[in-house]
């Protein structure tokens, strides 16, 4: 079993490091700091921690005002509240205004588990990717999360970072270098490509190992930057492998699958299969049970790969 780390824990600790390095870093939370892990920043720099209470719209507006005056605000809450709850505020006060606000959501996707549908964000990426000026990043593990948080702090412009509740198997070693807008090649292969984000990267690698024993060699790309998407990596994969499977803990509408499909439809039509949530809300259950129920396991990815290979011309 690979080592497991909670990305939100890494996020919280990285914020403290950044806070030490840069006095302009400020952190906002909406009564969830013990869960989003902004509590570490609150302890270290209470004067730069802004507790807004259960008021996400106000949090985003305050963050915009801080950013307009030279601060680098990180606003954090659960993914269900970080986007849909305050979408208009993000749209006008942040995106249209081109303000340097970092929204870091935690507890995204079905793997929230027992809290059920109201707490399982499966549409946040669709919402946020529809806004001009936003950079959208979904880190795969703790190693990548630390680098992503640093990268967005250094990047001038609105950013959305999507984290999960649970722990992630570590898929990157310390030599990994994250770059905004660049896909990471996790496995080389030419029979098909699996493009995955977040919790689906480890199952993608597991599926690849299983398929290898059947003689199928898959390429695996971690597509952590959803916007701007790495068009070159997508086209290269399409041309060299001829079949694409995307995997994400998100609705099939407006997430990774749709983004990749748009690129391919316009530039290089290629057979594709989407491993995603199929237009359904979530429900209570253990994370592993839910991922199985909604078809988001290594087995589902492997089946999709076989299907896409059959469709190759």
């Amino acid at each position: 079993m690979p080592e497991e780390v909670a990305p939100r824990e890494v996020f919280g600790k990285t914020l403290v490091e950044l806070g030490k390095e840069n006095p302009d870093i400020v952190v906002l939370d909406a009564d969830l700091s013990p869960s989003t892990m902004t509590k570490y920043f609150k302890e270290a720099y209470p004067e730069r921690f802004i507790e807004v209470g259960i008021a996400e719209a106000n949090m985003i507006g305050i963050a915009a005002g801080l950013a307009a005056n030279g601060k680098i605000p990180f606003a954090s809450t659960f993914a269900v509240f970080a986007t849909s709850r305050c979408f208009d505020q993000i749209r006008v006060s942040v995106a249209q205004s081109k303000l340097n606000v970092k929204i870091v959501s935690t507890h995204s996707g079905l793997s929230v588990g027992e809290d059920g549908a109201s707490h399982q964000a499966l549409e946040d990426l669709a919402l946020i990717c529809s806004l001009p000026n936003f950079t959208v990043i979904v880190p795969a593990d703790g190693v990548e999360t630390a680098q992503v948080i640093r990268a967005v702090a250094a990047h001038n412009g609105p950013c959305y970072i999507r984290l999960i509740r649970g722990k992630s198997p570590v898929v990157f070693d310390d030599n990994y270098k994250f770059q905004i807008g660049k896909a990471a090649l996790m496995r080389q292969g030419n029979d098909a490509t699996i493009m995955a984000i977040s919790t689906m990267v480890a199952p993608a690698l597991e599926a690849t190992n299983a398929l290898a024993s059947e003689g199928i060699k898959c390429r695996v790309l971690n597509m952590s930057t959803l916007k701007p998407i790495d068009v070159d990596a997508i086209l290269k994969a399409a041309k060299e492998t001829g079949g694409i499977v995307t995997a994400e803990e998100h609705q099939e509408h407006g997430g990774l699958g749709n983004t990749v499909a748009r690129v391919l439809a316009e530039q290089y039509p290629t057979p594709m299969e989407l491993v995603a949530v199929k237009d359904k809300f979530g429900m209570s259950g253990k994370p592993a049970e839910l991922l199985e129920r909604y078809g988001l396991t290594a087995k589902d990815i492997a089946a999709a790969v076989k299907k896409v290979i059959k469709r190759k011309v």
């Binding site: 209470g53 719209a57 106000n58 305050i62 915009a64 601060k71 006008v92 006060s93 081109k98």
Partner: protein
């Protein structure tokens, strides 16, 4: 009068040149403000008529407030709109952009001739205030209810930097329907933001009718008071009252101040006054002529 409290320097005479330097370009005018107000009203109705659309009612009701701020209160430099030492004016009621544009043009942020481009394609003067388009506009607004939160964030930034500048937010009474306004109001008093003043242009009319018939926001004074604000109630067309209220707000310590300014929607143009039809409708050529006659 614009030389006090702008920059943090000691009384050491060696700092006199740096004070003078810091204050170079700060706007100042000795013109009679009632004349300025009339001119701005003419600009407002003219630019909206030329655009063929826009919001005259809520622009005309805010003229004395905006003029008092830009002519008597704000430290600002039209030649350097991003001057870090400027006071921040946040127009939350973004549909009243014409009153802000008229003031900014008068102060010299951009040529007055540009007012004719309002709402036209590629214009710097967008239909609703847009910070990415217009020099001197602090916040993109138009979706009501967002400005007070933005103002709270700005005031927090100023406090973190121990900066002497203040934040002024102009709200409509209609946008007090929006819950976010009250989220922001709650937080401003929780954070004890005494560098923040909110002014409510209480003209009593929203898009589709009188507030009391659509959604009654009254009593606004009691609401802000119960949210922990220092509240001042004034006639928003009396220049003296507006200035006194803003000056009083500056002296309040430990809490934000709200000025509830009673105004008349469409103020200055007889057929627009208290007329819901002119919330968001441009005057036609004949109406413009009549309006300009009344504002001569």
């Amino acid at each position: 009068m614009y030389n006090d409290g702008i920059v943090n320097v000691s009384n050491n005479p060696e700092n006199k040149t740096s004070v003078a330097k810091a204050n170079a370009g700060v706007f100042s005018s000795s013109e009679d403000l009632s004349i300025v107000c009339k001119r701005l009203r003419r600009d407002i109705v003219t630019m909206i008529a030329k655009a063929g659309s826009g919001h005259p009612g809520g622009s005309l009701s805010a003229v004395e407030i905006v003029v008092t701020l830009y002519w008597k209160v704000l430290h600002h430099k039209p030649v350097d709109p991003a001057w870090p030492g400027r006071d921040r004016f946040i127009l939350s009621k973004g549909h009243a952009a014409p009153v802000l544009y008229a003031a900014l043009a008068e102060c010299g942020y951009f040529p007055k001739a540009e007012l004719d481009t309002l709402r036209k394609i590629d214009s710097r003067l967008q239909g609703h205030a847009d910070r990415t388009a217009t020099p001197g506009v602090e916040m993109s607004s138009g979706s009501l209810g967002q400005g007070l939160s933005f103002a709270v964030g700005s005031a927090l930034a100023g406090r973190l930097d121990k900066a002497p500048w203040r934040v002024y937010a102009l709200l409509s009474d209609g946008e007090c329907d929006e819950g976010q306004t009250w989220e922001a109001a709650m937080s401003a008093s929780m954070f004890k933001l005494d560098n923040l003043t909110a002014i409510v242009d209480n003209n009593g009319i929203q898009l589709s009718g009188f507030n009391k018939d659509i959604m009654n926001v009254d009593p606004l004074t009691k609401k802000f008071d119960s949210f922990g604000w220092h509240v001042i109630e004034i006639d928003g067309h009396d220049l003296k009252q507006v200035l006194n209220a803003i000056n009083q707000a500056k002296t309040i310590k430990g809490k934000p101040a709200a000025i509830i300014a009673h105004t008349v929607k469409g103020k200055g143009v007889s057929f627009m006054e208290n007329n819901v039809d002119f919330h968001g409708k441009a005057p036609n050529a004949e109406q413009l002529e009549q309006a300009l006659k009344e504002l001569a």
